[in-house]
């Protein structure tokens, strides 16, 4: 007893003698760019106690003499640093020098890797860089940030989508990459739902190392991590806000009223028709574009709270975003609320809970866009000689072209609203079985409810317009005969629909790290994943909405007699995926890294004969610069990488392998037509995923401490594309209503080179500069299509016109095919003496090139058509620059795409449709021009699809330019503000292009075979903004 007491007293005394307290110290180790470093060693100087930082860069050491201890932080490639604790419980350490940024931790799927060790080709963007752009959509913000990822805007309308293509187009089907947010599958179309402010980092796995996601990895994988808190940090509150005004960047050069009248007169005269305008002195007339494009507001407010206690970290965010459209203002508005909770807590020493919840609420109003009949299509083709409203105030009818309607009337009568409620998250429990072995179980969910309401009032756009819902200007409804002699009115209607989608995903995996004989390091991840997706939809249309008014636009208000006319529809689907995966990363010493991934996937989408697939990947890297013989002083870091692997694309229709009973099996018994059953589309039990084999060789270099260079060359071959080609008659698909099965056939190859070069000035006291440029060169080619078919037709040119794009062997996906022109026939003599007969040609017509050399232009077949363009850029470039001087910061972000073409398809080829003013330079007689053909109402072939309608789509765009000022903390701290920054910014300030249309940054809303076809694309706006961000 005495002994024990004595010990106690001595202990107390000793602690008093040392005059210090003992306790735990923790903190975060990061590099000079703020990137957290995983695997850094923190040792208390002169003792054996210490810790290694985890994937969040965190360390924690207990029983440290807080008063006197000195921490030694070290990590390979960085300068070792010593820091005195000086009584603090939280010591954050910044390591610098040597190989900058190489300790940066990346998520690589079910685990992490440091940039230094990673064996694959990936591209990293930190959240701050995206947020700074003030672009509401992550996908648009990513454009130009990294190489190998080509992002095009499908629509510039608020809430519109983008097409994301990692390393080129590999199928005419679904090219969307797999997108995971904190490990949870997030649909690519729904990226709009993410708040850029919630994002901590984005990592794009471009090469075969994406294969950890197996059958879903062929189009690349984008891993998005949301913000997390840090331990032992008091709550930090960040408030930010910006507001801005959006404008159209460009108006098309359309004819004004006088020019229009003159040209139309000439056109009709040339066609031997009477002149439509007796007086051409009509002045400017109506500028429909001025009437349609309006300045529109955008605003965004964010709040983030992050922090942590000893065992728990948290990050909570909320935001509101609202954007009106430059076309239609609130008729194309997008509003979004986001809420996010990201919570990590240690339930016990070995048990950790991670909980992520992302909530989104969206509302979007949409106008018809990007097609014939869209608002902008109508705007371009509306006649400048007609006013917007007639004498009595009613909208004008633009009667002379039946399918062009008054765009202002169209906007006013469009009511199309959709709402999305989306909940995405996970609950994850990680258990450290031993120090090296962690067992993680997580449950991921993704639920979205999408509501849609479309109100179609009774409208009269003018005689003969297809969009009319009324039968006359008095808005009398159509009468519908429901039985002989019995009719009812069909009044205004409303469509309401609701679809819900839910993903449930359970994943269980172990991570094991071990080091033996001091030289072998082995990191292994193995696990299983069970995924199920369900969708249900119900919709209905109801007629005779009272008062023709939006106020009553609800199915419940319908007055359809007896419910006649009203109709409903529904759908439901389910799909399932079961997977097992193993990844082993082996490191020998510090120089050699190797990785092997094997994933086995089973999917309900595939036929029973091919339900399971195995996807292996091998990769390795060699840190040349760590070799003894390495002596290139200027290149501080030199890594070579190699990877090869197989992955799949499972984005095919559910149950496509099954034969559906929707064929026509009808026969006559007892003289009565009797309906039977027959297989429609034939079954294909062999149906499977599209397979991509990708090889990548790359190098990462650090030159003179300030330059980062990454090079990648890849060959990506995709085979087994899905087709529905003609099949052998023996399969029995030639009966009525029967179709061939969907089969795997066809190959596509993408080869490319990616270069990223970054420069970061050595951290200075006042002036800092960092800049990077990236370039991607991709060569896309269709290598194989099924035997028996020559090509797959794509999008059409004009109204019901020729097929303009194809999927054909030896050409890029969706290349443009049509006639090549060679100037204009100037004289009849020239036509007569031409070695090539061009049927129907008269002077002033386009001269086509005889591709097959048979002395004649064949308009009935394809023999004289040739490749006249491609929608795929030869090279895309991104350039980012950040400069700061004292409190000022300036950043710019450029994107360029070069070598692609766009089809000018927004011109309605009708006598009265308005035209672009290049037509002023039309052919009017010998040698007047060799570019633009004559204008005439005569039958002619100048409007068939030729290179005359194909324009160079290359462009360079200043996507974002921003100037900010951060106040000296000394000034703001009295107000408890740690940091205050104000800025002005502009998006899409400048676009350099020769393209005549609104916006050369055109995606492919209609699929890969409709890329680069411009129907009067809803352009991205130029946005001028002011903003503020405060940190408390």
């Amino acid at each position: 007893m005495l002994n024990r007491s004595l010990n106690f007293i001595i202990a107390i005394c000793l602690s008093l003698v040392s005059l210090g307290q003992t306790g735990a110290v923790s903190g975060v180790v990061s590099d000079s760019l703020g990137q957290k470093i995983m695997g850094a060693a923190i040792v208390v100087k002169g003792t054996n106690s210490g810790s290694i930082t985890d994937e969040n860069g965190q360390y924690r050491i207990i029983n440290v003499d807080l008063t006197n201890a000195t921490l030694v932080a070290s990590y390979s490639g960085y300068k070792t640093k010593e820091i005195k604790v000086k009584g603090r419980k939280n010591v954050n350490i910044m390591l610098s020098d040597a190989s900058l940024g190489l300790g940066q931790v990346m998520v690589v799927g079910y685990g992490t890797a440091t940039k230094k060790e990673f064996t694959g080709a990936s591209a990293n963007v930190i959240g701050e860089d995206l947020q700074k752009l003030n672009i509401p959509r992550i996908d648009q913000a990513l454009q130009g940030q990294v190489s190998g990822v080509n992002i095009n805007t499908n629509s510039g309308s608020p809430g519109g989508s983008s097409s994301i293509r990692i390393r080129g187009l590999s199928t005419f089907g679904d090219n969307d990459p797999l997108i995971l947010v904190d490990g949870v599958v997030y649909d690519s179309e729904g990226l709009n739902a993410l708040n850029p402010n919630d994002i901590e980092s984005v990592n794009v796995l471009k090469d075969a190392t994406a294969g950890i996601y197996g059958v879903r990895a062929a189009n690349g994988v984008i891993l998005i991590e949301t913000k997390k808190g840090r331990r032992n940090v008091k709550p930090k509150i960040e408030l930010s806000a910006y507001t801005g005004v959006q404008q159209a960047t460009k108006k098309l050069n359309l004819l004004n009223a006088r020019e229009y009248a003159v040209l139309k007169n000439e056109m009709f005269a040339n066609g031997n028709n009477s002149l439509p305008f007796s007086n051409t002195n009509l002045g400017e007339g109506t500028d429909w574009q001025d009437a349609v494009f309006q300045d529109a507001q955008v605003q965004n407010y964010n709040v983030t709270v992050t922090g942590g206690t000893e065992k728990t970290t948290y990050s909570i965010g909320g935001s509101y975003f609202s954007q009106d459209g430059i076309v239609g203002l609130d008729k194309s508005n997008f509003t979004r609320f986001n809420g996010r909770v990201n919570l990590n807590t240690e339930m016990s020493d070995r048990l950790r809970l991670s909980s992520v919840l992302l909530y989104t609420n969206e509302e979007r109003q949409a106008l018809p866009e990007n097609g014939i009949g869209s608002v902008l299509y109508n705007t371009i083709n509306a006649f400048p000689t007609d006013p917007i409203r007639g004498a009595t105030g009613q909208f004008t009818y633009l009667e002379e072209v039946s399918d062009i309607i008054n765009p202002i009337a169209q906007m006013q009568n469009t009511y199309n609203t959709s709402w999305v409620d989306k909940l995405v998250g996970k609950e994850e429990i990680a258990f450290d079985i031993t120090d090296n072995l962690t067992f993680t179980n997580r449950f991921n969910y993704n639920y979205a409810a999408v509501d849609n309401k479309v109100f179609s009032p009774l409208v009269w756009y003018g005689p003969g317009k297809a969009q009319n819902t009324a039968i006359n200007a008095d808005l009398d409804p159509t009468l519908v005969e429901i039985a002989p002699g019995s009719t009812i009115e069909r009044g205004a209607s409303v469509y309401e629909g609701r679809a819900t989608y839910s993903d449930l995903n359970f994943e269980s995996f172990v991570n094991h790290n071990t080091k033996f004989n001091d030289i072998h390091t082995l990191k292994t991840t193995a696990g299983v994943s069970i995924f199920s997706r369900n969708g249900k939809g119900l919709g209905g249309t109801a007629y005779n909405i009272p008062n023709n008014s939006l106020d009553y636009a609800d199915i419940s208000a319908n007055l359809a007699p007896g419910g006649f006319l009203n109709n409903t529809n529904s759908f439901q689907f389910q799909e399932r995926l079961v997977s097992a995966f193993v990844r082993t990363q082996y490191k020998y010493g510090t120089k050699y890294n190797g990785s092997l991934i094997i994933r086995r996937d089973g999917s309900s989408k595939f036929g029973p004969n091919n339900r399971f697939g195995i996807f292996p990947t091998v990769s390795g890297s060699w840190l040349l610069s760590e070799e003894d013989f390495y002596n290139i002083d200027r290149i501080k870091f030199f890594k070579l990488r190699l990877s090869y692997g197989v992955s799949g694309n499972d984005q095919i229709a559910n149950f496509a392998y099954r034969g559906l009973l929707n064929g026509e099996g009808v026969y006559v018994f007892d003289d009565i037509i009797t309906i039977g059953a027959a297989i429609g589309r034939a079954a294909n039990p062999d149906l499977k995923w599209e397979t991509t084999r990708q090889f990548n060789i790359g190098a990462d270099l650090k030159i003179l401490h300030t330059f980062d260079l990454t090079l990648n060359y890849f060959i990506k071959n995709t085979k087994d594309l899905l087709f529905q080609p003609d099949v052998s008659g023996v399969l029995g698909t030639a009966g009525a209503g029967s179709y061939p099965p969907i089969i795997n056939a066809g190959d596509v190859s993408n080869k490319g080179l990616e270069i990223e070069l970054g420069y970061t000035m050595k951290q200075g006291k006042k002036f800092n500069l960092s800049t990077n440029i990236n370039a991607t060169f991709i060569n896309n080619e269709v290598v194989k299509i099924p035997t028996g078919i020559d090509f797959l037709p794509g999008a059409a040119f004009g109204v019901g016109g020729n097929i303009a794009t194809r999927f054909e062997r030896g050409f890029p996906i969706g290349y443009f095919i049509g006639y090549e022109t060679d100037g204009i026939f100037q004289t009849q003599e020239e036509i007569d003496n031409s070695p090539v007969t061009q049927e129907g040609a008269v002077p002033g017509d386009l001269r086509f090139v005889d591709q097959d050399g048979d002395g004649k232009i064949n308009f009935n077949d394809d023999s004289d058509k040739t490749m006249i363009g491609t929608p795929i850029p030869k090279v895309t470039l991104g350039y980012n620059i950040n400069i700061s001087y004292e409190g000022f910061d300036l950043s710019g972000n450029f994107f360029a795409a070069l070598g692609q073409d766009i089809v000018r398809n927004y011109e309605r080829q009708q006598p009265f449709a308005n035209q672009l003013n290049y037509n002023i330079d039309r052919w009017t007689g010998e040698n007047t021009t060799n570019v633009n053909p004559r204008l005439t109402t005569d039958l002619n072939r100048n409007t068939i699809f030729s290179d005359y309608f194909v324009e160079d789509g290359s462009f360079l765009r200043l996507k974002n330019l921003q100037l900010g000022y951060t106040f000296n903390p000394k000034l703001t701290q009295p107000a408890k503000i740690n940091s205050a920054r104000i800025y002005i910014a502009a998006n899409n300030l400048l676009t350099l292009t020769r393209y005549r249309g609104y916006d050369p940054d055109i995606g492919s809303a209609g699929g890969p075979l409709a890329s680069g076809i411009d129907y009067g694309f809803y352009p991205q706006a130029r946005t001028l903004m002011v903003g503020i961000s405060l940190k408390f």
């Binding site: 399932r576 039977g676 052998s728």
Partner: protein, 492 residues
């Protein structure tokens, strides 16, 4: 605590491993009938059977090719490019690229596939009346295979299953004899199940099964089996020749005592030229109608499949079958009152002055929705006169010939049309029966196959090359789509 956690972990590891991946992935589409979740009720079987019957309605193509390939008729039509394949067949210049031959190949396989789909699932459930459905499906498969063998000789034999897209490259052409063996087996089975009588008009009967079986024997020169099989049909005394030959092909008389196996059509549904296989009406009468005809009795049509002078002249002037088979359009018009007001046009695809008077668009037989393609006239695949003539031939050519019986059958046919009886025997009787076949059955799609079967084709058809034209070429595109390994028929 650690123990608890270990238990939890063990549970988490064990649970997923107990879970069956295969079962989890094996899900059915919701609320949708598809090929894999069908055949749950008797009605499902009945509906699938109707689907298999559907392809019988492609018969118009056989009427065309069986006649046009022979000395009986020319292709006709608007121009020589109008259904070009038929013009090539007329000229015996056809090769492996021929849309019409491809249609024959594909449509019959479509019928086979639909029958096989039902037969593949024949054991899924049991119910009363299933046997009859199975038997009808089996007959249909045999009929479609018989058509294919007639045209192409060796064809891939697929039985009781559907092929996957990959499997088709692994099947080869099955020797003709093996296909015939299957046909015989299927027809014998169907005949053993089905009754002579079916209350539903249009369903296959035992008589149809046995008659087609006898025909299949005849096409293999198995005369003894053919003779005994036809005798069963004849001795049943169910069928009889109808009195007026010219009434055979009129819609009002359908289901007459001479109809052994006919394809049913309806005039109640319109159709389009874009999908002839989708029609519920008979396409042949419309196509074979008089071009731009404006007059009584007939409707206007597309002047296809025009009988030759040779056929017209083959008839005895007193044989009523001549005018019932061949319409001499100018002679017909001249006999009408106001004949000068009756007009018609000559098609660029050829003109003989004659039209097929058996399957021709007649006023009063025009389908309501559109009168181009919706003829309700049934196609008589096998009628009793044919059975009698086939029986006569079989007895005459049997190992121990019974010419007396053969004469009896032959003269039944002649007697009906007022032709004097024939007393010949041996080879002379054989020739007489063959001649009678042409006179009795012309315009019905049998002539070419009879000429080939009896080795007379080279004598009668201009351009016919022995050793080549007995069979039509397998469509090249079908060879390619099947992987390119099939051999082509000789000399194509």
């Amino acid at each position: 605590m650690t123990k608890k956690i270990t238990t939890i972990i063990l549970t988490l590891i064990i649970l997923p491993s107990m879970f069956s991946c295969k079962k989890f992935l094996d899900i059915d589409p919701l609320y949708t009938q598809d090929a894999e979740n069908f055949f749950e009720t008797p009605n499902d079987y009945q509906r699938a059977l109707t689907g298999a019957y559907d392809l019988l309605q492609s018969s118009f193509m056989t009427v065309w090719i069986g006649e046009i390939a022979s000395d009986n008729s020319i292709a006709g039509g608007e121009s020589v490019n109008d259904t070009e394949g038929l013009h090539e067949i007329e000229a015996m210049s056809h090769d492996a690229v021929n849309n019409e031959l491809r249609s024959i190949f594909r449509w019959n396989y479509a019928g086979i596939t639909r029958a096989n789909y039902l037969l593949e699932n024949k054991n899924k459930i049991d119910f009363e009346g299933k046997g009859k459905i199975i038997a009808e499906a089996t007959f249909l498969r045999a009929y479609y295979y018989f058509e294919l063998v007639k045209y192409f000789g060796d064809v891939p034999l697929v039985i009781d299953k559907r092929l996957g897209a990959d499997e088709v490259t692994k099947v080869d052409r099955t020797p003709r004899s093996e296909v015939f063996a299957q046909i015989e087996q299927d027809l014998s089975f169907a005949a053993s199940v089905l009754d002579w009588n079916d209350p539903t008009k249009g369903r296959i009967t035992k008589g149809a099964c046995l008659s087609l079986l006898g025909k299949a024997y005849l096409y293999q020169d198995k005369f003894d089996q053919a003779a005994s099989t036809f005798d069963v049909v004849i001795n049943q005394n169910r069928y009889a020749l109808i009195g007026d030959y010219s009434d055979l092909f009129k819609v009002n008389n359908e289901g007459h005592s001479e109809a052994v196996f006919d394809v049913q059509y309806s005039g109640a549904e319109g159709g389009g030229y874009g999908c002839l296989i989708c029609l519920e009406g008979n396409a042949a009468p419309g196509f074979q109608g008089i071009r731009q005809y404006n007059g009584p009795v007939y409707g206007d049509g597309n002047s296809y499949n025009l009988p030759t002078q040779d056929l017209h002249d083959a008839f005895d002037a007193t044989d009523i079958r001549r005018d019932a088979t061949v319409l001499d359009i100018d002679a017909f018009i001249s006999k009408q009152p106001n004949s000068s007001e009756i007009t018609y046009a000559i098609g660029g695809g050829g003109h003989t002055g004659y039209y097929n008077n058996k399957y021709i668009k007649r006023q009063g037989e025009i389908g309501l929705p559109d009168n181009d393609l919706t003829s309700p006239v049934n196609y008589l695949v096998i009628r009793y006169a044919d059975v009698l003539l086939m029986a006569a031939e079989a007895h005459n050519r049997a190992t121990s010939p019974d010419d007396l019986k053969a004469q009896g059958y032959l003269n039944q046919v002649r007697l009906r049309v007022g032709m004097p009886p024939i007393n010949a025997s041996g080879n002379a009787l054989t020739e007489a029966i063959w001649t009678e076949r042409r006179l009795e059955l012309s315009g019905e799609g049998h002539r070419f196959f009879d000429l080939v079967r009896t080795a007379k084709a080279a004598d009668e058809i201009n351009g016919f090359i022995t050793g080549k034209h007995e069979l039509f070429p397998i469509p090249q595109v079908e060879i390619d789509l099947a992987g390119g390994d099939w051999s082509q028929n000789n000399n194509y």
